[in-house]
Symmetry: C2
């Protein structure tokens, strides 16, 4: 008798008013077809029209503020900002909340992207880009402090992302930093002789981008990163 009265137990977690307001606002933004720069109603107006206190509204708006979806000033009120996927991710994803396995996977993702973006690179690359890339490489030559190395790696790979002409992807460079820090930290904890040398360096990549083919580039990029997969650390975790 008793068991049939609760066939599927519903957690029945009432949604908080803040969550509801958040949803409401998302719908509101969409339906209202807001353009970046448009002003929202004031907090009081929102509160009255949704029949909640200004506090609740503010807690919901605080979330959008974190995402960089809105900005607000005294007296000016609240405006919508052009939403950028990866700048939002950047705000949301602090490396400190990412655990090792997630970082590991992000590193793998990064490799996939850099191999996969080869087509876009060859489609958009200009002689000027080639020049800039070589400049980046030359400016690092000789220098080999580990601090400089991170900056160098980041500036080189960031530039590739830029050449792809995909802004969303370009925003990914924030992750780049996270992942680089992570990988470099591992490298620093590994004895030198256990780190195999890179098989393909940046200059080879650039030269391929200048005169080679997409497939060749993809193969080179794969080899460029393959070093890491031969390290014990990366094998162990997979």
């Amino acid at each position: 008798m008793k068991e049939e009265s609760k066939p599927t137990i519903k957690p029945v977690q009432k949604e908080s008013m803040v969550d509801q307001v958040e949803k409401n606002l998302r719908i509101y933004f969409k339906d209202h077809g807001f353009k970046p720069g448009d002003a929202l109603p004031t907090e009081m107006e929102l509160a009255e029209s949704m029949n909640v206190s200004r506090n609740v509204i503010r807690e919901a708006l605080s979330r959008f503020r974190m995402l960089g979806l809105i900005s607000s000033n005294k007296r000016k009120g609240i405006q919508l900002i052009k939403f950028n996927l990866f700048s939002a991710l950047e705000r949301v994803l602090d490396p400190s909340v990412l655990d090792k396995s997630t970082l590991h996977e992000l590193f793998e993702l990064r490799i996939m992207l850099e191999i996969g973006m080869a087509n876009a690179l060859f489609r958009n690359v200009t002689p000027d880009d080639i020049f800039k890339l070589k400049e980046i490489i030359h400016s690092y030559e000789g220098n080999d402090g580990s601090k400089n190395k991170i900056d160098y790696e980041i500036s080189f790979h960031s530039y590739l992302y830029k050449v792809s002409k995909n802004e969303t992807l370009y925003g990914f460079q924030k992750y780049l930093k996270i992942v680089f820090d992570y990988v470099l930290e591992i490298e620093s904890q590994t004895e030198m002789h256990k780190i195999p040398p890179k098989k393909v360096d940046h200059m080879q990549l650039v030269e391929c981008l200048e005169n080679g083919t997409v497939s060749e580039f993809q193969e080179l990029m794969h080899q460029h990163f393959s070093t890491y997969f031969e390290m014990d650390f990366f094998k162990r975790n997979h």
Copy 2:
């Protein structure tokens, strides 16, 4: 005279207390080495120790709540939850806040990923995976309603993501749906004769995965998607 008087103007935007508290808490979480399930101090304690009002604390906590980083109950207080990157993304990224150009870029990103993940696919694929993939293809044969097509496309490509054994990437299928809907919507708005037929179908991809090489697969995948780049719509927006 005028132009030299403002070489670099700093906007000097003071950070709001909520932003500061958010940062503080992130550091606090990290330094304190919290485990999932651990209890945080009460809101009042946090407020007092940071010298701000409970309102400010709550606005900051509201952000973490959106990310699924904490959960709170009356009397029980606030606990940390195990952070999951993509459950956070799902909360944060409502398709409704993505505009067309972002969707367009996401589509491009998707292609990059599917080309770039070839190495991971060949590394991890099993005979059983091949079988499952062929099964998916066969189950669609004959069927050609546009509704079914989306499901079919999603189930096929999702399975590829799954084979990559990268959970973070697998979480991307949430986006897949968004992007597919977007692309299919475009297709439906385009006259039939203007949609070039796919040059490479799913079966060719699977057969390559079974017997071919990484490079071949990448080339096939590129051709698989190249159809879209020949459509006016995609040319126009780039």
